[in-house]
Every structure is written in C-alpha cells, then in structure tokens.
C-alpha cells in the first residue's frame, strides 16, 4: 500500500481556472497578430496585456523605466485604456476574430513542471487584473512581452527626468503622456537613433546624443537622418554631472573621455536624459520559471529578436558613467543603496555598521570566490525593493564585473522571481482554495515528533504528547 504524506503538495495544486488553446502575453503588434492568426485557425485564444498599468506602478517604474516623466494623465484609468486601444487598431480585429482580449491584465508567473516541481496538474500561467488573480492553462503559450530597459546609473540619475528608451517610447506612443520637451539621449546604436527620430517626429527637441565609443554604433542611414535633423552625436563623451531642480533634471554636464579636462566640459540644458544604451528581451516569466522556449512556449516579437548590447560595450558605458559618480550615488533607488554601500557590501542604513564592517568590501568578499548578485542583494538590499530590481539589476552586474576584473558576460544577472510583476496580497490570494489544500495545510512539515519537548522524548508521556500537539507547530 502506498502511504501518502497528507502534508505534501501532491494533488493539492488545482487545475487552472480556465484553459485556452493559445495564450498570448503582450498585445503589441507581434502579440496581437499572433492572437488573430491563432483565432482565425479556430483556436480558443486569450490575449492579455498589462497596459494600462496602474498609475502607482508606473510611478515605481513597472514595467519600464519611466523616470517620473509621465503626465498626470497616467492617473486616469479610463483615458489610459482609451489610449491603449487608440494606439493599437489591430485590437479591434482581434475582438472581431473572437480573441478573448483582456487589457490591464499582467502575467505574473509561469509554472511548468521540472526536476524540483512535479506537483502541477499541467503548465499554467498566473495572470491578474485589478480585481483578482487567475490561473490559466494553455496548449501553447506565446510570449510577446517586448523588451525591458537596461539601466545604468550616474550622478543624479535617480531624479525625475532620467528614463529608459522603452519607457520613453511607451509614454510617448502608447499613452501620449510624456512630459519631456528637451532631451539628451545616451547611446548611438539603433535604439538611440530610433529614439531620437521618434522624439523629433513628435516635436520633442533632441539636444544631443552621447556615445562613449569613438564611432556611432547604429546603422549609418539612421545616423545620417539624425545628423540631418541637426542633432549632434557627441562621440567619446560621458556624463560627468547632472543639474536638477524641484522637477528633476534641468541639465547635464558632458565630458570627453578618457581623462576629462574641466575646460572641455559641455553644459547642456535639458529636462530629460534617455538611457538608450540598450534593451534586453523581457523574458522574466521564463527566467523565474527556470525554463526555456519550447514546443509549447514561444517567444515572438521584440522578446525574441531584441538582443542585449555587446557586454563589453555595456561595461564600457558603466565604467565611463561610474568614473564620475561620487560614492554617494544611488544604485538601488527603492532601498537607497549607494555605490559606496555596494562596493563596501554594507548593511542598510537602519542597521548599525559595526567597526568590523569597515574592513569588509566587495573586494574582500570576492576573495572567497565569485560572488553572485543575489548574495550582494542579501547583504546590501540592492534589488530587493518594490521595483523588483528593474532599475539596478544590470548596474549591480556591471559593478561586480568591474570589481572582479572579469567580462560582464561571466557575471549572472540577479534572479527574477515570481510574481514578476508586483501583485497585491489580496489580489494574488486564492480565495477559492481547494479543499485538499485547506485540509492538508500545516505550518511546517506536519511531523508531530519534531515538536516533542526534549525532556519528554523516550518517556511514557511522549505518545500522548505527540498525539495531542500534532504537527501544527513552529513557534
């Protein structure tokens, strides 16, 4: 007879609340087209998109680095919803084709069975809107999740007006809620050049592109278009300082590399600095699930085609920006971790920093072997905040590479963990919990003998004690 551990997870995770032949995450052009095509083939299709994202999350730079340059329009859900429709006419076609389209719905967790998780009744996706979370099963999952901003810090980057290229484009084209009028763009690759052309087409002044390398990184044709618009591309330059006021960025100081002379510094007035050094495919769902694209899980659109910039290039940028960043430059905005804190692996400010900590540093930690960004996160709290590490993950990796003197490509990126979008407790909660889950729940393992007071072990009272207390313990 097979004995069951009633407190084990087997059989307790319910089947998904709903199931579709095809689930598409991301209603951009690629995702919407895929959903329509699947529906036209007769499949049942769910298409979700997290936009419009609640205003509070936009303020926390979820999912893009919006850098506080959104207008008050983002606080009006009805207008935001209208904008999402207006910016993607294909959504009407998707509705007409019978696609179940749900906007304002994020995908926060992908679950597939693997070597350390075998209790799932099948692969499923956790989604949530403003009301509730739902588990959705799928025959095929299509991730059209786009790209995420790669964020590198510099002096003053943590004030309103410093944003990512993805955040810039989203506010401008999807939401029509961008407050920037006069921008400086960091980078000269295709992303930076396209950002410049997009801004110009919408009447936003592009004052300069800044590039640490000696040559323009993007296609010559795009660069020529930017140049033709009279926008200078400052090669071999970096950000030395930013000027700010009550509304954030008011100007930037650029200096030539490698060793800046004060007299060569350029002062440029601007209200926004757009980080367009690079993007990364937004594969958090896969990363958190510890899985890869497969027969049933596909990446399409930017999520499939965007490539991270060459690690050496990214590291060159991080180094150039870092050389002018004072020790008190914030790296992790959520937890207010500075460069000095990180390099010193110092505990957060609410803890005392005892004398012995003075001798500890990232360098001393690295003497014990390669450090993992998750270890740095545990010690300094960098990446532990409400933005889920979106703004500091890549900076921490660059700093680790720099300190270790190793290529960035060899340093892991801090882990993504579900929920990959912030979801409130009351929304994430399973309020219709399965009876098996409720019945088999125990605080810890439900091993009654674990909690027997030592003095009682081996005495006549032991059996009574074990029977009386049961396993529901853990104090």
């Amino acid at each position: 007879m097979t004995v069951r551990d009633v407190h084990a997870i087997d059989g307790k995770l319910p089947a998904p609340d709903a199931r579709f032949d095809v689930v598409v995450v991301g209603a951009g052009s690629a995702g919407t087209a895929a959903a329509i095509a699947a529906a036209e083939d007769g499949a049942s299709v769910l298409l979700i998109d997290e936009n419009p994202v609640p205003g509070a999350l936009i303020g926390s730079d979820v999912p893009h680095f919006y850098g506080g340059r959104m207008t008050a329009a983002v606080q009006q859900p009805a207008r935001m919803l209208e904008q999402v429709f207006a910016s993607n006419p294909a959504l009407e076609t998707a509705f007409a084709a019978g696609v179940d389209v749900r906007l304002g719905t994020c995908a926060w967790g992908l679950y597939v069975n693997g070597p350390a998780l075998r209790a799932l009744p099948g692969p499923m996706l956790g989604i949530a809107d403003a009301e509730a979370a739902t588990m959705v099963g799928f025959g095929r999952l299509v991730l059209a999740t786009g790209a995420r901003d790669l964020v590198l810090g510099f002096a003053g980057w943590n004030q309103p007006g410093v944003m990512g290229a993805q955040g810039f484009a989203a506010l401008l084209t999807r939401y029509d809620a961008l407050a920037s009028r006069r921008i400086v763009i960091l980078g000269s690759g295709a992303l930076a050049l396209e950002t410049a052309l997009l801004a110009l087409s919408r009447g936003i002044a592009v004052v300069a592109l800044v590039e640490v390398a000696d040559v323009v990184q993007g296609p010559a044709a795009l660069a020529a278009q930017v140049a033709a618009a009279g926008v200078p591309i400052l090669l071999g330059h970096t950000v030395a300082a930013t000027r700010g006021g009550i509304d954030g960025v008011e100007g930037v100081t650029l200096t030539p590399l490698p060793s800046p002379a004060q007299e060569d510094a350029l002062e440029i007035a601007c209200d926004t600095i757009v980080l367009a050094i690079g993007s990364a495919p937004a594969t958090e769902l896969l990363d958190a699930a510890g899985t890869l694209p497969s027969e049933t899980i596909h990446l399409i659109g930017d999520a499939a085609t965007v490539t991270r910039p060459d690690p050496a290039y990214l590291q060159a940028w991080a180094t150039a920006l870092g050389q002018h960043a004072p020790p008190d430059t914030i790296v992790c905005q959520c937890e207010e971790v500075t460069r000095a804190d990180l390099l010193g692996v110092q505990p957060p400010r609410y803890l005392d920093r005892p004398h012995a900590m003075a001798a500890r540093s990232l360098a001393s930690l690295l003497n014990d072997g390669p450090a993992h960004p998750d270890q740095i996160k545990r010690l300094t709290r960098a990446g532990m905040g409400a933005c889920q590490g979106r703004r500091c993950r890549d900076q921490v990796a660059c700093l680790l590479a720099q300190q270790q003197g190793v290529p960035l490509a060899t340093v892991p990126i801090a882990s993504f963990r579900a929920p990959v979008r912030p979801v409130p407790l009351g929304i994430l909660a399973d309020w219709q919990e399965s009876a098996a889950m409720t019945a088999g729940w125990d605080v810890w393992f439900g091993i009654p003998t674990q909690w027997t007071p030592y003095a009682v072990i081996g005495t006549p009272e032991e059996a009574d004690h074990v029977a009386g207390l049961g396993g529901t313990m853990h104090v």
Partner: protein, 391 residues
C-alpha cells in the same frame, strides 16, 4: 588577468594542505561550529559546494524560539549577544506573537503557550483587543493569540554572512565553490577530504552538509537517513514597522523584517530527489497564492501591499524530524550535524554543541544523547516510502 581577478579565486597554491578541523557545509550549522572551534584557537577550513548560506540556511523564516530543543536555553542565552560576539549585524529581535482567527487553532496555541510557561518560558495570552493593539496590521477578525516573552527572530542571510566573516576574522578559512568529493580514511579515522582543487588533510571532520550529508557519509558505511523537500515563502513590499515584528499564525511562519517587508511561508512541501550537486532548481509554485491569502487574512490592513518576491528552499528531514548531533564511533573523529529543517534559530547553540563533540566528545551544556544517530540503527530501508516521503 587584472588585479581584481588575480584575487578572485584562491589559486592552487593557496589551497590549505590541511587543517585541524574540516567542516563540510557552509550553512548556519557548519559555520557556527567552525566559528566556535576557531574561537578556541583551532585551525578550521569550511568547504561548500556553492556560496555561504545558499541553501536552507539563507532561505527560512528566521525564527529563534525552539522550546522543544535541548539546545534552547543556550540559544536563548546567546542570541541577544550574537551581534557583539560575531561583530556583524544579525538583525536579531526579541519575542514572538502568534495570532489566530480560527478558534481551534487559537485553543491549540494557547495549549502550546501553557506548555512553554510550564517549562519556565513565559507566555501571555492575548485576547482579540490585546492582539489588535500589539499587531496593528490585524483587525477584529483576529480572535486572539499568545505573546512569547522569549525567543525572537533574525535575518537568516545576514546572520550566515556574519558567521562567515566572524570565522574569517579569527583566521578560519572558507572555500566556496569547493565541494567535498570524497572522504579519505586510514586506520579507522578520517585523514583528509578530497576536493576538485586538491586534498585537504584533517585531524577531525564535521559533516554539516544538509541534504548532501547522507551521500557524503554513505561511503564510510554510515547510514545517515535524510529526505529532502522544497518549501516556499513570499515577501511583500514594506509595511509600517510593528513593535514586535516576529508575528505569525494563521498557518504561517515568518516575520516582518526590520525594513518592514512581510516574509511568510507555510503549507505543503514537495519531496524531491537530491544529488551531490544540490537541488537542480528551487522554483516556487502557485502555492504562493495560498500563502498570499493567509497573509492577507492574518494582516487585513496589509492586504493592499504588493507581493514582490517568492522563493523556495530545500530542507532535509530526519525520519522523526529531530536533529542528529553526534560524534561517530567509526570513524571516531567525525561529528555529524543536521537540524532537520529547524536549524537557523538554534545555530548559536548547535555550533557550540558541535564544537564540544569535536573537541571533548560530549556536549558540555546540555544532554543531547537522544539526538544521536543510534536511534535510527533499526530503521527500515523503505522508511521514506512508509512515511510518504519518497520523491
């Protein structure tokens, strides 16, 4: 190689040829043992397959209130001193509150409270209003609770690193990413541990390698029965700090961190296969929704807070869920230690006990003979299946 990378990994020449004591496993139990040994001047080397505290030692609820353990009095004595003794912060905070919204569970914990009081550890009953006064995130749905005037909680990850640094400050060495491959014996004693980077001779060995302990000990003819399971926790964005952060109940264990995050786990575990390299993955499951529900029920005034992370850890359990702390008869210079899934809070004392076993052959401050390995000598080979603990 640049200056930085030259210092990155210990070169072969830096690998210690030997040590008085080699400890396998840089979790809290192994690190605390090594620290206690180093405090007495012993030359200690700690080996780990990965990074300090990377398994269950750095992934747990941080509780430190284990009335059931023979090590508890020593745990209680030491925790308030640990920041000073180690020289690094552990975030230790005193006392615990357990609240309930289910009348049966409240009765159950009231009985636990009476038992603890009878053992000499004071527990006060809280009625609903008292509980609401002490736990501002709950509401009138809380029927009451118990207030443990003992125990407490600390930050597992910070504490693990504090042990590691304190050990290094005393001259102890930690070799990360350096698994023990095999244990070499001669004349009935362990003489060395083999690693991918070379052989390290030793006079005594401590095996505190968590889930890997059984696999390391088997070739020595030592049956060290363990089963491994995965358990999950969730973390919210910070809530306003409660006066006592060590609040749990409603089927959960956990705490409010000093930053304000609510970090809670509980509920079903999953028995998993384990090999020498450690768990193949540490995923969480949709169970995080059941955890979220219980946190939202326990703290209705925090139900609007975002969950921002979840994580899983792998825990080893002995057949009776009680620790094994023992000095072996054969090989006679080997001390084995597993805390069976309840090791973090007891670590200040478990390290002391292991130090005593290694040096003196017996624990100096408590009787721990009932935690010996001998209790499993007649264990059936299919003990996991008999308990439903097979992966």
């Amino acid at each position: 190689m640049s200056r930085g990378s030259a210092a990155l990994c210990m070169s072969e020449a830096d690998l210690p040829k030997g040590a008085a004591v080699v400890v396998i496993g840089a979790g809290v139990t192994g690190l605390s043992a090594a620290w206690w040994l180093a405090r007495d001047g012993f030359d200690v080397v700690v080996l780990d397959k990965g990074i300090v505290g990377w398994e269950a030692s750095g992934r747990n609820g941080g509780g430190a209130s284990h009335y059931q353990s023979p090590l508890f009095a020593e745990e209680q004595r030491l925790w308030p001193q640990m920041d000073d003794l180690l020289g690094y912060p552990t975030e230790y905070q005193r006392e615990r509150i357990i609240i309930q919204r289910d009348p049966d569970l409240l009765d159950h914990y009231r009985a636990v409270g009476r038992m603890c009081s009878a053992m000499g550890y004071r527990v006060d009953d809280l009625d609903s209003q008292q509980a609401q006064d002490m736990v501002p995130l709950t509401d009138q749905s809380c029927l009451g609770g118990i207030h443990l005037r003992f125990g407490g909680h600390a930050n597992p990850q910070r504490t693990v690193q504090a042990y590691a640094w304190a050990l290094q400050d005393l001259g102890g060495r930690i070799l990360q990413h350096c698994p023990a491959l095999s244990i070499e014996t001669a004349g009935g004693k362990v003489v060395a541990v083999d690693t991918p980077r070379g052989r390290i001779a030793c006079d005594a060995l401590v095996v505190a390698a968590g889930s890997q302990s059984g696999m390391l000990l088997a070739p020595l003819g030592v049956d060290f029965p363990l089963a491994s399971a995965r358990a999950e926790m969730i973390v919210t964005e910070p809530a306003p700090l409660m006066r006592i952060g060590g609040v749990d109940g409603n089927g959960l264990y956990g705490r409010q961190t000093l930053r304000g995050n609510l970090a809670f786990g509980g509920g079903p575990h999953e028995w998993i296969d384990m090999d020498e390299a450690g768990p193949k993955a540490r995923p969480t499951s949709p169970l995080i929704r059941n955890l979220a529900r219980r946190v939202a029920e326990m703290f209705p005034k925090a139900a609007h807070l975002n969950v921002i992370r979840s994580w899983a850890g792998v825990i080893e359990n002995t057949p009776d869920g009680r620790p094994i702390l023992d000095r072996l008869d054969h090989p006679a210079n080997v001390t084995v230690a597993t805390m069976s899934g309840v090791g973090f809070g007891l670590s200040p004392a478990s390290g002391h006990a292991v130090r005593d076993l290694v040096i003196d052959g017996a624990c100096s401050f408590a009787d721990i003979t009932k935690l010996g390995l001998a209790r499993f000598k007649n264990l059936e080979p299919d003990w996991r299946e008999q308990r439903g603990w097979a992966a």
